[in-house]
């Protein structure tokens, strides 16, 4: 979604209404094309909503039992609070300054708000897994507000809301003759979440016992079935995430989007199975799940602009980046990321944005990169994507750093040692994930 696109959508929708946008006649039926798009985006948005169940399950499966209630609470609170923040300010900042608290909204605004709100909540929730098992619940809630009100909508505005990376009047766009393209948000949603997760995990520090004399140690999660269920729910929701991002049910490109999304996720999972089988003698389940997701993250930006074979390549490389990125984080950067959020959403997200500049086939579409990538002889698109990646990383890490530092001052980022050892469930929520006591059976 870029500026051009948003304008087009809004124009189309407005044309379908009698009178001005803000005095629309609610007792008339919508035009059938508009209605089709409405229904489609409601359903696609519902699928994205379910991704939050996916995150909740994935993250609790990949962390220890004693912190499970805390992870679940974070996921529920995240969608609730981001939703309210996005209603109050986020949407207005990102798209239209007249829509604070959804003032002046018509039916098409409501439609778009819903679809965009579930995206905003996705960006916010990514951090949850990376700082799991040690960040205070109150600190996390403050971060959620910061993300939903500032970090996400401002960067989102630059790419999707007519900001300097996508506006016709922006000098950089004029210079290069192309827009920064991020179809469904490898950068806007995932990399923003991923680099905020990087900063969060660095500032909160590793879990007790993760690094012993600098050596990373395995701290397995507590339930692979929950993690696998989460992965399936995420992949399911991703169909809505990507295909819905045409924002137009009549855009025939959405079929290609779905095919590319599927192929990249399959390639990511298969690559992870192979690389772990080779490197560690046995196919590893946690990496396979992360590989599937890395494939999905990678294809999120290019899915409307590349051929299926390229989707396979992009997804496979995404799987490799996830694997080596995870190892690099642990071995070199000594970052503790219990669920692998940083390589999956951050590194593979950046790769996804860059891959547009490499593999875009340049075919004219309603909404695609609409310029050739390196492989098709184009340079400018690639340059533009590099710029958007740099902006993405600099902005996100800087703002996340400021946010987490402020929160640290305010309430402290990390639970005390006793709480970490006993578990956040008992200490922060006074309950346990599986609270049945021996005598109760």
């Amino acid at each position: 979604m870029d500026w051009k696109k948003i304008l087009l959508i809004i124009a189309v929708v407005q044309m379908c209404m009698l009178g001005s946008a803000f005095a629309e006649n609610w007792s008339e039926e919508a035009d059938v094309k508009t209605a089709l798009t409405y229904v489609w985006l409601v359903l696609a948005g519902a699928l994205v909503f379910l991704m939050h169940a996916g995150f909740a399950m994935l993250e609790s499966g990949f962390t220890r039992q004693k912190n499970t209630v805390n992870i679940l609470m974070k996921n529920i609170a995240n969608i609730a609070i981001t939703g309210l923040i996005f209603w109050a300010v986020g949407y207005a900042i990102m798209f239209d300054r007249s829509n604070f608290f959804l003032a002046n909204a018509d039916s098409s605004t409501y439609n778009l708000w819903f679809f965009q709100m579930v995206f905003a909540a996705t960006a916010a929730t990514i951090v949850s897994g990376a700082v799991a098992e040690r960040m205070k619940f109150s600190a996390f809630l403050l971060y959620v507000v910061w993300m939903g009100a500032i970090i996400y909508p401002i960067y989102g505005h630059w790419i999707w809301g007519g900001g300097f990376l996508s506006s016709d009047t922006s000098p950089i766009v004029k210079l290069l003759g192309v827009y920064a393209h991020d179809f469904a948000g490898s950068g806007v949603v995932h990399a923003v979440g991923g680099y905020a997760a990087l900063i969060g995990a660095m500032l909160v520090g590793p879990r007790i016992g993760k690094f012993v004399k600098g050596e990373p140690k395995a701290i397995p999660g507590h339930s692979i079935p929950l993690a696998a269920l989460g992965a399936f729910l995420l992949a399911f929701g991703w169909i809505g995430f990507n295909a819905g991002s045409t924002l137009n049910a009549l855009d025939k490109n959405l079929n290609l989007v779905v095919v590319n999304t599927m192929l990249a996720s399959f390639a990511g999972a298969t690559t992870a199975i192979l690389i772990t089988w080779i490197k560690h003698k046995k196919p590893d389940v946690a990496f396979t799940i992360n590989g599937l997701l890395a494939g999905l993250v990678s294809i999120t930006a290019p899915c409307g602009s590349v051929d299926p074979w390229a989707a396979v390549v992009i997804g496979a490389i995404g799987g490799l980046i996830m694997y080596f990125g995870y190892m690099f984080n642990e071995n070199r950067l000594k970052i503790d990321d219990p669920v692998g959020a940083i390589p999956v959403h951050g590194y593979a997200g950046t790769w996804g944005v860059l891959s547009v500049g490499i593999f875009s086939n340049g075919v004219e579409k309603l909404y695609a990169a609409n310029a050739p990538g390196l492989l098709y002889g184009g340079i400018n698109l690639f340059v533009m994507q590099v710029i958007s990646v740099v902006v993405n990383i600099v902005w996100t890490t800087a703002m996340a750093y400021i946010g987490f530092k402020l929160i640290d001052k305010l309430v402290g980022l990390r639970v005390d040692k006793e709480a970490e050892i006993k578990g956040l469930d008992v200490m922060e929520h006074r309950t346990q994930a599986y609270p049945e006591f021996i005598s109760e059976r």
């Binding site: 395995a218 397995p220 772990t276 490197k279 590893d284």
Partner: protein, 112 residues
């Protein structure tokens, strides 16, 4: 009376239990435990990182029996629980001074 405490492989429980039953030893208490002896533990991995689980799952059978039955019980357990490789387990014998049946309050050998 003696308490015979046997720590065996979980997969052998069914067989041992059955054999003891055949020989007339019904009463027993079974606990899931983790143990370590000469056996080295299994190496596992998580995201490619190895870790050794050096406490392996075992099953502990506790039986209180009459002094004269101790040897038979031990023989049965050894016969059924042995595989010949490391990790087969251990049996400990100790003295129990009193046994009481909760239901009836009976004491001593008749309570076993």
């Amino acid at each position: 009376m003696k308490k015979v405490e046997a720590i065996i492989r979980p997969e052998k429980l069914e067989e041992v239990k059955h054999a003891l039953e055949e020989a007339g030893f019904i009463g027993m208490t079974v606990t899931e435990v983790k143990g370590r002896g000469r056996q080295k533990g299994i190496e596992q991995q998580w995201r490619g990182r190895k870790y050794r689980v050096d406490l392996l799952p075992k099953v502990k059978i506790e039986m209180v029996v009459k002094d004269e039955d101790v040897d038979r019980v031990i023989d049965i357990i050894i016969e059924k629980a042995r595989t010949g490789s490391i990790g087969d387990g251990k049996i400990f014998v100790s003295t129990v001074e009193e046994v009481i049946r909760v239901r009836t309050g009976e004491k001593g050998e008749k309570a076993i």
